[in-house]
């Protein structure tokens, strides 16, 4: 078991390093020894280059993902405003707020943001339960949830009722 109080950072050398360390020291001065060093340097260079190229590819993928979800923070902030608008629209009907809410909904759709449906079975991949009645199986939406592209950016908050 690892000693809890004192932990060494350097680990047992890997195979490659062990081979290198096992090479007798008198070899190192000779011309023959310089060739393995060149091999090693070339391999390390190739590995470094490969790492860099792979990193570039990975970075390109990360940028693509970043662009896909670049607006996520902004959308999450806007969603909170829409939450309040919906509450007001419900409490004070006939003032036309539902039209404003619809415009937000259309705007979200344009940017790949869809409201999560609250029907059928409770699905924790999409819904978050905040209250439950004993024996309840029907969902009532407490706060809307949204999916952006294919990512659940906010689950729908639901109450499970009878």
């Amino acid at each position: 078991m690892d000693e809890p109080q004192k932990q060494s950072i350097e680990e047992t050398p890997t195979e490659a390093t062990t081979e290198q360390e096992q090479r007798p020291s008198e070899e190192r001065g000779s011309t023959e020894a310089s060739r393995p060093n060149v091999e090693e340097y070339l391999n390390n260079w190739k590995r470094e280059r490969a790492d860099f190229l792979n990193y570039k590819k990975e970075e390109a993928r990360r940028i693509e993902e970043f662009v896909k979800y670049a607006n996520e923070d902004l959308v999450l902030e806007m969603i909170e405003l829409v939450d309040d608008l919906e509450i007001v629209a419900k409490e004070v009907p006939d003032v036309g707020l539902e039209h404003v809410v619809k415009r937000f909904s259309d705007l979200f759709k344009k940017y790949g943001v869809e409201r999560i449906k609250v029907d059928g079975q409770f699905n924790p991949a999409l819904h978050e339960a905040v209250d439950t009645e004993q024996g309840g199986s029907k969902m009532v939406e407490v706060r809307a949830g949204y999916i952006m592209q294919d990512k659940v950016i906010r689950p729908a908050r639901v109450k499970i009722v009878k």
């Binding site: 078991m1 004192k6 932990q7 950072i9 680990e11 890997t14 790492d51 509450i87 007001v88 924790p124």
Partner: protein, 644 residues
């Protein structure tokens, strides 16, 4: 060779990281999140949930939703801590045959290690998905106070999850590794570039998380990090701070509306969201407005919650909790045998350490700024990945690359420092830029090589100078002089200037370009920060003057070359504007210079437009183009050589 996964298996949340191209980075889980709740559940139909899905269904299924396994792993059922925690947990526990703990999940009784393994399994699967390769090895972190039994159980959890646990390391050690302490010393011409601690340095790791507070005192050895003391409170964390805020909101609402909404679960949930959001905002602002419309209703109608919540109020509400953490820190330090003055560095871990009050109190206690640049929610996982990287040789002293500690550049028109290589650029590196002359028929350019972060050349350190002469006569801005900076793997700087027309070049070699002491480097960077605003203003003024001068030049040239074609009254007006600008250039007001430059520009453009109209039908190269606004590259012109 597959990557080693670094895992921070937390009480509330877990995180994972790998090392890529020598740098650790967090891996997102399948849901796209950088942390995964350490929660596992089994549904009515036997379906298993792990992570955020388990958390989301917790309210519907509390008896089968297992969390905080870290409080139970490797412990005995009869432990006082376990008996205390048992009272707060909604799921069932029992003693196994050897007084070990068993947890009821669905219709099965499982060991805490088996439940933790489910979280690790999910992390492993998500990591494999992200990386597109199999993960077999892992480093898992544990609190420094974990005993052998708890460490073994954690390792068992990893193995049950299909991981070969190369090592179980302490969380404060991992945090120290993430900040570069204890790594193999880098050998570069410029000396150590990351925060690799010297031997015998003492580091305090202050970890204020969601549910627990841990403080550790570490001592750095040759290639070891020794834990010299641990302390904390397993039931003190950010959740307690959130609770204080919620209670305050409920109290204020009661005062204003006479209604107690503490029993209204949905209202409390909305208050909880608002409390957490307000707490986060108050880390960067002095006050925030909390507004929750229609939070409740009574006979008189709908009620709203609205409150201006200040940082001062938040600090008042939680001061005792923060003070408690400070007292525990002092106690741990005493018990470790060290004094405050012995501590060289302090590292912050855990999301709650973002709170300004906590940073302030820690700074007050130790008399130094704590390290908090690395995301405190992720630093432990990153450190675990670093340990894995060291073991794999990804982070080692075979191929060492240094960085240039301060920016390098040259002096350009107006005594401005123009950077060629930014600070912290990894070397070897080469950068080139094209410059030009500042005066007509300028025969040479002086390359004044500088190092530093200040905007004005004279505030930086001179590394060398040389002159490139033999530039053929040409109007200012026409010659192309390519200036190249090259730092080789030994840290030697070669600066070359080449006239692209003649091919003539001159160069200087500067050895020990980072031959500054650590103190000098720190002083220069601190100076730059201190003078950043005034330096920026000075630079802007000079650039405004340069633009003005360039416009005077092009306007006068336009008049000289088109004397016969320009009406007398236009010439008079243009010359008046030129003179006005020439006089204004002496002013210290950038706004004034811009205004007069704009006036000259309008007149010059109008006259230039009329000259164009006088041209015959387009034929290519005929006619003088209207004077352009000076291009960006024209700003970067050399000072005229002082001695011909």
């Amino acid at each position: 060779m597959s990557k080693i996964l670094g895992i921070d298996l937390g009480t509330t949340n877990s995180a994972m990281a790998i090392v890529e191209v020598g740098q650790p980075r967090i891996l997102e889980n399948k849901e796209g999140m950088r942390t995964t709740p350490s929660v596992v559940a089994v549904g009515k139909n036997g379906e298993r949930y792990v992570g955020v899905t388990a958390k989301r269904q917790a309210v519907t299924n509390p008896a089968n939703t297992i969390y905080s396994m870290k409080r139970l792993i490797g412990r005995r059922f009869s432990d006082a801590e376990v008996q205390k925690d048992k009272k707060m947990l909604p799921y069932e526990l029992r003693a196994g045959s050897h007084d070990d703990i068993e947890i009821k999940m669905g219709d099965k009784w499982l060991k805490p290690a088996e439940v933790s393994a489910m979280v690790l399994q999910k992390l492993k699967a998500d990591a494999e998905d992200r990386l597109g390769e199999k993960i077999t090895d892992a480093i898992i972190t544990v609190p420094a106070y974990f005993d052998d039994s708890q460490r073994k159980a954690t390792k068992d959890a990893g193995e049950i999850a299909g991981l070969n646990v190369k090592r179980v390391i302490n969380e404060p050690t991992a945090a120290a590794l993430a900040y570069g302490y204890g790594k193999p010393r880098r050998q570069g011409v410029g000396g150590p570039t990351e925060a690799s601690a010297k031997k015998d340095e003492k580091i305090v790791v202050y970890d204020f998380g969601g549910g627990t507070f841990d403080v550790s005192v570490l001592e750095i050895g040759d290639d070891t990090i020794e834990v010299r003391g641990t302390g904390g409170d397993t039931h003190l964390g950010g959740d307690d701070i959130d609770q204080r805020i919620i209670e305050y909101f409920i109290e204020e609402y009661k005062k204003e509306h006479g209604v107690d909404i503490s029993k209204d679960q949905l209202a409390v949930q909305r208050l909880k969201d608002a409390a957490e959001k307000a707490k986060h905002e108050l880390s960067s602002t002095i006050q925030t407005e909390v507004s929750i419309p229609f939070i409740s209703a009574d006979a008189s109608g709908a009620k709203h919650f609205s409150l201006v919540f200040t940082r001062a109020k938040l600090e008042e509400l939680v001061k005792d909790l923060v003070d408690k953490s400070v007292q525990l820190t002092k106690k741990t330090l005493d018990e470790s045998g060290f004094k405050i003055g012995d501590i060289n560095e302090v590292i912050m871990v855990g999301g709650q350490t973002r709170m300004p009050l906590i940073v302030e109190e820690v700074k007050k206690l130790f008399g130094k700024d704590p390290h908090k640049d690395i995301n405190p929610d992720e630093v432990v996982a990153l450190g675990a990945a670093v340990q894995g990287g060291i073991m794999q040789g990804e982070i080692r002293d075979v191929l060492l690359l240094d960085v240039t500690p301060l920016s390098l550049g040259i002096e350009t028109l107006g005594q401005v420092f123009t950077k060629m290589i930014d600070k912290n650029t990894t070397v070897p590196v080469s950068k080139s830029q094209i410059f030009s002359t500042a005066a007509d028929n300028q025969p040479s350019v002086e390359i004044h090589v500088l190092q530093g972060e200040r905007a004005m050349a004279h505030d930086n350190k001179t590394l060398g100078r040389f002159i490139l002469d033999g530039i053929p006569p040409a109007p200012r801005g026409i010659p192309q002089v390519e200036v190249s900076f090259d730092i080789d793997a030994n840290g030697i700087l070669n600066v070359k200037a080449k006239d692209k027309a003649t091919g003539k070049e001159q160069s200087v070699k500067i050895e020990g370009s980072s031959g500054l002491t650590e103190d000098e480097k720190k002083r220069m960077m601190a100076d730059a920060e201190k003078h950043a605003t005034e330096d920026a203003k000075k630079k802007e003024l000079i650039e405004t003057r340069n633009l003005g001068e360039a416009l005077i030049y092009t306007s006068e040239k336009m008049v000289k070359e088109n004397d016969a074609k320009i009406k007398e009254e236009d010439k008079k007006e243009l010359n008046e504007k030129i003179e006005a600008l020439r006089n204004t250039l002496k002013s210290e007001s950038g706004e004034e210079i811009k205004k007069v430059t704009e006036e000259l520009s309008k007149v010059a453009q109008r006259i230039g437009g009329e000259l164009y109209k006088q041209q015959p039908a387009p034929s290519g190269a005929e006619g003088t183009p209207p004077p352009q606004e000076p291009k960006a590259e024209e700003q970067k012109t050399e000072e005229p050589k002082k001695n011909s």
